[in-house]
Amino acid sequence: MLLNTGSNSLDTSASALRKTSFWFAAIALLCLLCADLDISTVDPWHELSLMAAGALSPSVWSWPTLLSSLANTFSFALQGVAVAAIGGFILALGYGYSVVRGFCAFIRSIHELFWALLFIQITGLSSLTGLLAIAIPYAGTLAKIYGELFEEVDLAPARNSPAAKQPLTHFFYTVLPMAWRPMVTYTSYRFECAIRSSAILGFVGLPTLGFHLETALGEGHYSEAAAYFYALLLLIGTLRFWLQKRLLPIYLLAVFYYLPPHAQISWDLVARFITEDIVPAPLRGEALFTASTFSEFANWFSLLWQQQIWPGLINTMVLGQISLVFTGLLALLLFPLNSPLFFRRWGRTAGDGLLILLRTLPEYLLAFLGLLILGPSMLPAILALGIHNAAIIAHLVGRYSEELSLRGDANRGLNLYFYEVLPRIYRQFLAFLFYRWEVILRETAILGILGISTLGFYIDSAFEEFRFDRAFILILASALLNIGVDHFARHIRLRLHLKTTPESL
């Protein structure tokens, strides 16, 4: 204390958070300098006005198509999450082992669209592909959440309880019952995400809402697109009214009856895909460990690195960083909408309604719309990622602000926001944002499929050219990037003492 004498510089708990935020923002600004943000369409307002007109006059061209794509979207999502919940649960039992944790991190670091692109090569555009594309990455995510919940509620080792001697009994009688409620809550939230994922799988050809949305949007049939769009909103928006626990077994039976996971698998093709197609070209059928094979492989790899991996990584990180900071700023701007400190009763209900609506829009679809309006650049991607993710974080931060109690003579308006509320919510806000970082980066990579030159762009091109070896390496690169960022985010969360228990993210 005495050493502090006369010091006029701030020594506060807020300063560490401020410093971190400053560096993140500074890097994002640097990234902005090298990001392509041009609006390349001649008249963006014209396209936007056409879309708005379409949105106001939705029309269903074919009810059977709409209903069957709606049913497919729901079926893939429910089947995927059901399988993921079982798989995730089993994996979570071994979550203490770093091998299992690493495996889970790996399978969830690959986006469901990339999984779909991979499986389409083996199982075609089949119902099995849709199921697996959702179930695999979601199992990795659920395993992490379940595993962390088990660790959190498992007090036996600390207490040295006799139950610890009967691990299985202990698990089913104490750990599982305590973790059950948050598990159910989180899984049901992931189901909402799975519906978005399922809809988006249509963009690579599966028969869900996204398939018809892409076609209609691409051809400028905005009224038709609006109908599919509203169907998706309606499906997600009304979930809590009809997706009840009691009815779940019935829905499960129904979706497996309606869309049995099935694919015409040619095992020869599978074998070829694994042993040949995804093997780097210079290594196919060659004797390994010879000097010439090695040098050819080195050439192949360095070319791939220079032309695709490195630019893809850089663009993914640049876009990811800008989107992360933009998401954060937008979330800070929006959270008062769901905060009782700023809006009461109806105002807050309407505000939170808007946030939930924005959250419901899949970022991939938003980016697609943005591309149609603004032309291909990073701008639509940044807007799409920002809007979707900021709405999620703003909703949670707003709800967190319920816990704050202000003095009777608290300030009002902007003074209240900056002096009394922002410092109090900031730590929690950063925790949410860093949780979301990994997701934002995964999505950044995937937006490449729309033509923004992130890793997804090169992956998609490789698939189109049937160069599966390249696609495979590029997918690995994106997986490693995500795992790296996840680790870094975790490191920052620990260093800043941010709450690390999972939320609905």
Binding site: M1, N4, T5, S7, N8, S9, L10, D11, T12, S13, A14, S15, L17, S405, L406, R407, G408, D409, A410, N411, L414, N415, F418, Y419, E420, P423, R424, Y426, R427
Partner: protein, 225 residues
């Protein structure tokens, strides 16, 4: 000097005051004149805080408020917590700039107050690093910087040592025309206030000028009902 016929500053007439939906004080009538220094005494749960809250709400824009739970922003410095009392006097942009980097003028103003409440050393540390007593002084600082005529405090010096408590009470009385304090230290109440109001069993059990009272007169307020 005010005319004798002027309106009292605070006027509660036959009021019922509730705390969390329960009636704490019933049929309460009370007036406080400008210039009075009032001490509210009584056992815990007697309704002191509820009464103070009702008084503050009568003149929210004239009262410097010092609640029992200081409601400071823990991750911000004592400087910023004190300055929070002066936000209304400055433009929003000035306040925002001051949040990022303390402005010279604001620094001078807050430093002067910090000196008077003996908080200079800790001024730029965040409140979560301060002791209970230092936090309480920060809260007093936030009230002082408002430069208002009326001070309402709920046990404002309960967490500081006796010597400092007397200094702070003296300061509060010097800088405000009218003072209303909830207090549990009877000697301090008699020493600094001109009027003592004792609360017991949901009503005013005693209301007299302090120079007509002794510590023993007040002891009865704390007996079990």
């Amino acid at each position: 000097m005010e005319a004798v016929t002027s309106q009292p500053l605070f006027d509660l007439n036959n009021r019922r005051l509730e705390y969390q939906g329960k009636t704490v004080l019933d049929n309460l009538s009370l007036t406080i004149e400008r210039g009075e220094r009032v001490a509210l005494v009584g056992g815990s749960g007697a309704g002191k805080s509820t009464l103070l809250k009702a008084l503050r709400e009568q003149l929210p824009n004239q009262v410097a408020w010092c609640p029992q739970q200081p409601g400071l922003v823990p991750m911000l410095s004592a400087f910023h917590n004190i300055y929070m009392g002066a936000l209304n006097r400055h433009s929003f942009l000035y306040n925002l700039g001051n949040l990022i980097k303390p402005m010279p003028a604001a620094r001078d103003e807050v430093s002067e107050i910090a000196r008077s409440i003996d908080l200079e050393m800790q001024l730029f540390s965040s409140v979560d690093k301060l002791s209970g007593g230092q936090q309480q002084r920060t809260s007093i600082g936030r009230a002082l910087i408002q430069r208002r005529a009326i001070f309402i405090g709920d046990e404002p010096v309960a967490n500081v040592d006796e010597y400092q408590a007397e200094r702070l009470l003296k300061l509060i009385c010097q800088q405000h025309q009218t003072v209303v304090l909830a207090m549990h230290d009877i000697d301090q109440a008699l020493q600094f206030c001109t009027r003592i109001i004792g609360l017991k069993d949901g009503a005013i059990a005693l209301d007299a000028p302090s120079d007509q009272l002794s510590a023993s007169d007040l002891a009865g307020l704390y007996d079990a009902a």
